[in-house]
């Protein structure tokens, strides 16, 4: 029929409507069919385990004895909150996230500003600086465990040679020192990510804005706070959010360096979850997992509301 239409004739007024309707019906099915593999995959491998794991949180699911997996209501949650170590674990988690994040942002920002400048072998410098991000967190933990070893480690050796300390610091044997050591390792690991993300954002800021600021007589500090920072604020905000979630969920370094010790004093929520899982109590581990998910969801919602661009500023 379409081919029989005379050339140059105006289209019938209802043609678009019919095309749109036909398009909707068929495309909807096609879209659904194309989405189905991904949806099925995600459903089976993400949502099913999540839901399955969630129901374990309300049951007596202990691998040491699976003969009684009855429902225990909020029992697993109550047991966690009543655990005398829980307060220390929450405090450690906050110290771990904040103590790792702030230096990572500051050093990462400085590195990004440095790498934005054009100089010889800049590409090679970038590759060297980005290298830690390609290494497994567990391996980094193993390396730092030896570096911080009080007797054979390079850290004490250097500090003693420089004359900062007289006797070796038992880095991984004292809770306070151990917390410092694991945070130092995490800072080293995470700085790279901020450098990468902030550098990418900085490269998207147009040179005209800097030229205009220079013409207006703005100095380096004024340019940084009035041009650079506002221009990359969205990227920076989202990067910080992402990193907070990742650091929160990053037990690798701690597990490899201290295993949560000494005396369970460097456990964060996720390392403690591993500990409980290894003990076989999947019920309590799932309850802890749910606490983590809801805490991070709430945090992400408040954070995004707090950092979203204000209408008045647009």
């Amino acid at each position: 029929m379409r081919g029989s239409k005379p050339a140059g004739a105006p289209p019938a007024p209802h043609t678009n409507y019919h095309r749109k309707k036909r398009f909707n019906a068929r495309t909807a099915l096609t879209l659904l069919a194309f989405m189905a593999p991904a949806a099925i995959f995600v459903g089976i491998f993400t949502y099913y385990p999540m839901i399955s794991g969630s129901q374990m949180a309300f049951r007596n699911w202990n691998l040491n004895d699976l003969s009684d997996t009855s429902w225990v209501g909020w029992g697993n949650f109550i047991a966690l909150f009543e655990n005398p170590e829980f307060g220390t674990i929450v405090r450690n988690t906050v110290v771990w996230v904040v103590g790792s994040l702030v230096p990572q942002v500051v050093i990462g920002f400085a590195l990004a500003l440095f790498l934005k400048r054009k100089f010889k072998f800049r590409g090679a410098y970038q590759a060297f600086i980005f290298f830690p991000w390609a290494v497994s967190g567990f391996l980094i933990g193993m390396l730092f465990r030896w570096m911080f070893n009080a007797e054979f480690g390079v850290v004490n050796d250097l500090l003693m040679k420089v004359g900062i300390i007289d006797t070796p610091i038992p880095w991984l044997a004292e809770p306070g020192f151990a917390m410092t050591a694991i945070i130092v390792a995490n800072i080293w690991y995470g700085v790279t990510f901020f450098a990468i993300m902030i550098l990418a954002a900085l490269q998207s800021v147009s040179d005209e804005m800097y030229e205009a600021a220079a013409i207006d007589g703005a100095g380096k500090i004024r340019t940084f706070f009035s041009i650079t920072l506002p221009a990359i604020s969205v990227t920076l905000g989202l990067t910080i959010l992402l990193r907070i979630i990742w650091i929160f969920n990053f037990p690798d370094i701690i597990w490899a360096m201290t295993g949560g010790g000494p005396a369970d004093q460097t456990h964060i929520i996720t390392t403690y979850m591993i500990k409980i899982t290894q003990e076989g109590d999947y019920g309590q581990a799932s309850a802890l997992g749910l606490i983590v998910v809801f805490t991070l969801m709430l945090f992400a919602a408040f954070y995004l509301m707090a950092v979203r661009p204000r209408k008045a500023n647009r």
Binding site: T30, P37, F41, N64, E151, L172, A173, G259, G261
Partner: protein, 433 residues
């Protein structure tokens, strides 16, 4: 027409992808009738995996209708992976079960009881008493051990002599004296490679058992003959106090966090003079460039005031998944690995106390560092072999609890008395069921 084809193609892709998620199973029978066994190991390391592959090639040659696929997960996550495989009932036929995992695997009916299949097996006669006992616990054969781990004291012959001692420490009190004398923190030299990190409980329990050796129930080394736990005995208090002294006066302060790698490194790089470890360390120390062969040796396990020590034997072996559909072939493989040359080669290559009686006559075991193990075997009244309840389902829970609490004692957050009360309550409650 074109959009119809697109829709059908999309639905087809969806169906194929969805269906590809289904299916599974452990072994598979190919068209030529060959059975493929899936075998998974737990205590993986490259040398061991190489040995195992060589043995499996030998098995495949002897049994051309059976092929074995070896799965070697990293050691740290292996037991959890094995647990998931057994729970799902797919992907595994022959499994490495450890004395610390066999309890929960058996209780959850994930392992196959081989008792009926191995009834009348000629291989039983060649196994040591220990190997037979561990194979037939509670009347069930969930695994056949491939070797044993047992504690002995590695010591520096030169340092002990220089310090004026006539020989290595024979008891825990000797160890305290010698460690204290050899301890020179300023020179970064220490007496004893103390274990305060992962699995710290094992050596602490060894001390307590040595102090209570006269009263111990050999069938359950955590129990006294009067039915109470070893942690409740007054001798246990003395044992822990002495052990804490060894840490304070003769060990590196940072050994609060020392696990296996730090202990072995500390001894093999010459920083510590004494190390209590399994025989597998012999191979590692032989490779050390910091200490020469004539600078170290191995002495029997330390005794308590009783003059006796309890040898806390640890083991692992090969078992079969309950869900396996190739059990006869799996039995063939386990029999092959548990006798003759394959069994001896596996224990030699992995520095294990052998499961075969004949191995004791081998010069490999009767000379050099292994001689201490022969001494212990020849003096069963001094070095008493008792079974620790490592097969109980809550063993991992116990390890985590006891390691954490021991670190509290070492860091001054708990007293030895509080520790023993806690351990006594735990085991009293668990043993009461």
């Amino acid at each position: 027409m074109k959009s119809k084809i697109t829709t059908i193609a999309a639905l087809g892709v969806a169906a194929v992808l969805a269906l590809s998620g289904c299916g599974g199973g452990g072994n598979s029978n190919s068209a030529d009738g060959k059975v493929t066994l899936k075998m998974v190991e737990s205590l993986t390391n490259p040398t061991r995996t190489e040995t195992l592959k060589t043995l499996l090639t030998g098995f495949e040659k002897a049994n051309p209708d059976i092929k074995v696929d070896l799965i070697s997960p990293p050691t740290d996550s292996a037991d959890q992976k094995i647990q998931q495989m057994l729970q799902s009932g797919k992907g595994v036929d022959v499994v490495e079960a450890r004395d610390i995992t066999v309890g929960s695997f058996g209780a959850n009916k994930w392992l196959y009881d081989m008792s009926a299949d191995l009834k009348g097996w000629e291989g039983w006669e060649n196994l040591t008493d220990n190997a037979v006992n561990y194979s037939k616990q509670d009347g069930k054969t969930y695994y056949i051990p491939y070797g044993f781990y047992g504690l002995s004291l590695f010591y520096r012959t030169d340092l002990v002599k220089e310090a004026g001692f006539s020989g290595p420490p024979a008891s825990w009190s000797d160890l305290l004296k010698q460690s204290e004398k050899l301890n020179q923190p300023d020179a970064n030299k220490f007496g004893y490679a103390f274990r305060g990190g992962t699995n710290a409980n094992s050596n602490a329990v060894a001390v307590i058992e040595a102090y209570t050796a006269d009263q111990i129930d050999k069938e359950n080394a955590f129990k006294l003959s009067n039915g109470k736990t070893i942690f409740s005995a007054p001798e246990a208090q003395q044992a822990m106090d002495d052990y804490l002294e060894i840490f304070k006066k003769g060990s590196p302060p940072s050994s609060v966090a020392w696990g296996y790698p730090e202990m072995v490194q500390g001894f093999s790089n010459g920083s510590t003079a004494f190390l209590l470890q399994d025989p597998e360390v012999i191979a590692t120390i032989k490779e050390s460039k910091s200490i020469k062969a004539d600078q170290w040796s191995v002495a029997p396990l330390l005794t308590g005031p009783t003059g006796k020590a309890i040898q806390p034997v640890a083991t692992a072996g090969w078992g079969i998944a309950e869900a396996s559909t190739a059990k006869p072939e799996a039995i063939k493989l386990i029999k092959y690995l548990s006798q003759g040359e394959p069994a001896t080669q596996f224990s030699k290559d992995n520095s294990l106390v052998p499961i075969l009686k004949a191995a004791a006559k081998d010069p490999f075991y009767s000379e050099g560092p292994w001689a201490a193990y022969v001494t212990m075997t020849e003096n069963p009244d001094t070095y008493i072999s008792a079974v620790q309840p490592r097969g109980v389902a809550w063993w991992t829970e116990w390890i985590k609890k006891s390691d954490g609490e021991l670190q509290r004692v070492l860091t001054g957050k708990m007293t030895t008395q509080e520790l023993l009360t806690s351990w006594d309550s735990y085991w009293t409650e668990k043993m009461a069921g």
